[in-house]
């Protein structure tokens, strides 16, 4: 008796809730999908091939590829030890370090660029002595772009790999220790090989983020064809001069991003399991 009334009441409440959820779902999907549809609808298909053949555009693509791959490699080298430290070692200030590691994810990239200038610019904390001692300046150089882009994309790798470490059964590492493996051997022969999926996912995410980075890069390293102008910068600049070129470049970025996501699939991203 009470059970029937309860079900009946729940049903009457359920209907509007279900409708709201359906609307939210439809709106959510539309928000994500429509921009892509719009981009495809506006693509000047007949101009795609000649535009992609344009030397300046190819130069931009080449530089973007170089910068993003260099940045992904740098993220891997800098990020894995950080991820390990966060996941496997307890020390005072760990929460602070973790916050620091994800900060670039939530910081507007432009602010990141300003902060990078404050540190590595010609008048920066490190940049000024660096120039005085070695004559090297980072702003307006390809290396500067790599640093700016890595600043923004590194957290993606750290977060992914740290999650990988945490998902790893620590007892397997203990088993290795009882078999005589030093901490280093455990890392090299057990943890890292078992982390390959996380490393792949983290590197790919960092790479994809690096490929699309705009704000920090343009703020810190500026814009010069062949040296610092990556695809996102070119998209922004071409948007008003030659919107077709901007759309074609956007399409290239979109295709690469989709390829990465599809390549990783849910398995590596750790969702949908």
């Amino acid at each position: 008796m009470t059970a029937t009334t309860a079900t009946r009441r729940r049903r009457t409440f359920d209907r509007p809730v279900a409708a709201l959820v359906a609307v939210a779902l439809a709106a959510g999907i539309a928000l994500l999908l429509l921009p892509l549809v719009g981009l495809l609808a506006r693509t000047p298909w007949s101009r795609v091939a000649p535009l992609l053949g344009d030397p300046a555009l190819r130069e931009t693509l080449r530089l973007s590829l170089l910068v993003s791959l260099a940045s992904a490699a740098l993220s891997l080298v800098l990020g894995v030890p950080l991820a390990w430290l966060l996941a496997r070692v307890s020390f005072p200030g760990k929460r602070l370090l973790r916050a620091l590691c994800v900060l670039p994810m939530v910081l507007p990239p432009v602010v990141g660029g300003v902060a990078l200038l404050a540190a590595f610019g010609r008048r920066g904390l490190v940049g000024a002595p660096l120039e005085r001692l070695t004559g090297i300046t980072l702003p307006f150089t390809t290396a500067g772009v790599v640093i700016a882009v890595t600043f923004v994309s590194l957290p993606f790798l750290v977060v992914t790999v740290e999650a990988g470490f945490l998902g790893l059964d620590a007892r397997i590492e203990e088993a290795a220790a009882t078999l005589g493996a030093s901490r280093w051997t455990v890392l090299r022969r057990v943890s890292l090989p078992m982390l390959v999926p996380s490393l792949v996912a983290g590197t790919a995410l960092a790479w994809a983020r690096a490929l699309g980075e705009f704000g920090a890069s343009i703020t810190f390293a500026g814009n010069l064809g062949g040296t610092t102008r990556t695809v996102p910068l070119a998209v922004y600049l071409e948007l008003h001069r030659d919107p077709d070129a901007a759309i074609v470049l956007s399409l290239v970025l979109l295709a690469v991003s989709i390829a990465i996501l599809v390549g990783l699939r849910d398995r590596y991203l750790g969702v949908g399991r």
């Binding site: 059964d169 007892r171 397997i172 203990e174 088993a175 290795a176 220790a177 009882t178 078999l179 005589g180 493996a181 030093s182 901490r183 051997t185 022969r189 057990v190 090989p193 078992m194 390959v196």
Partner: protein, 349 residues
């Protein structure tokens, strides 16, 4: 003593305070309820946890001495450890899994692979050497885990509930293999378990750990016969007889028992005290095993009374206080004891 542990360790409210010594070639079963500190003790010996006070000595080498502030990390102790859920390295094939210990301790790649194959052979899995652990059944994985622990040539072998994760049939098969390798192992062996059968059939000596403290120690027969706590009585207080089987007949000393399942050679015969029925006159009917015995002491445990019997077989019977009154049981009283053949568990030794 080639393994000596005398430590205390505080884990929140729980305090482990234990003193355990194991001789070379001796198999010690560490028995106790969940949360008694068995695994902690094992991990302290392995160097995976640190004690708060005390010392640990393996093969004459002091590996923990809180007085002197010394601690040898796990990787530098010569321990071999088998875990409940095997913990094989999922990304390495069986050879590399077993070769991991020798290689970590400095053996060359080729020699380590040879040692690994040799150990896989001994646990009957040589033909699977190139496969990944994921291709193995639970029992097979545990056999590889044993091989992996032994391949590193450890000074002490530690087993943490090695059979607990296996199903009943597999358990019997792996238990047989374990017994063989534990006997063959030259150093001290510590086996953590909460399964009395495992403890009684694999160990030379039992140490009962309850709430962080050793409550009883002795041979399996002693502990089974004179359990000192309710927990031990309930779990270990079984009748354990050693005999020689020939088909469904087992000769134990002067007596012969009839069993339901045939076996051959040296065996352990186990049956629970409550399977032993007591009568004032010779019972008729189905029990295949009946004998005359003399009451040799009684322990009252709540609603049960453990009656110690002397005679051709030294066993314990468990009856209700009402039955004690009805049968007029007292020290020196003669009774007939009866056990059905199907109640006897026979385990080859």
């Amino acid at each position: 003593m080639s393994l000596a542990v005398e430590v205390t360790a505080r884990r929140g409210d729980f305090v482990l305070d234990a003193h355990v010594e194991v001789a070379d070639g001796e198999v010690l079963a560490l028995l106790g309820p969940n949360g008694a500190g068995k695994t902690s003790l094992l991990r302290i010996v392995a160097g995976l946890e640190r004690p708060d006070t005390g010392r640990v000595e393996i093969g004459g080498l002091v590996v923990d001495d809180l007085g002197a502030g010394s601690h040898v990390p796990a990787a530098e102790r010569r321990v071999g450890m088998v875990f409940q859920d095997h913990l094989l390295f999922p990304h390495l094939d069986l050879t590399d899994n077993v070769a991991f210990g020798p290689r970590s301790r400095g053996t060359g790649r080729r020699e380590a692979a040879r040692v690994a194959l040799d150990w896989l052979e001994r646990v009957g899995l040589a033909e699977r050497a190139g496969e990944q652990p994921s291709a193995l059944s639970g029992g097979q994985a545990q056999r590889v885990a044993l091989a992996r622990a032994l391949a590193g040539d450890p000074a002490v072998l530690l087993l943490d509930e090695p059979l607990a994760a296996l199903d009943v049939e597999t358990r019997q098969e792996v238990r047989g293999l374990l017994r063989e390798h534990l006997r063959a192992f030259a150093g001290p062996v510590v086996l953590v378990t909460h399964d009395p059968l495992e403890a009684l059939t694999l160990a030379d000596r039992l140490v009962v750990l309850e709430d962080g403290r050793v409550t009883q120690a002795g041979t399996p027969a002693e502990v089974a016969r004179h359990p000192r706590s309710a927990w031990v009585a309930r779990l270990v207080g079984v009748n354990l007889l050693r005999g020689e089987a020939a088909g469904t007949e087992v000769t134990v000393g002067r007596a012969t028992l009839t069993t339901a399942e045939p076996a051959y050679g040296p065996v352990d015969v186990l049956f629970h005290p409550h399977a032993v029925a007591l009568h004032r006159t010779e019972p008729g009917g189905s029990p295949r095993n009946t004998w005359r015995a003399v009451v040799d002491g009684m322990d009252v445990e709540g609603a049960r009374v453990r009656v110690h019997l002397d005679g051709p077989l030294a066993v314990v019977a468990e009856v209700t206080p009402a039955a004690v009154a009805e049968l007029g049981l007292a020290d020196g009283v003669e009774v007939w004891a009866a056990v059905k053949a199907v109640e006897l568990q026979v385990h080859p030794r």
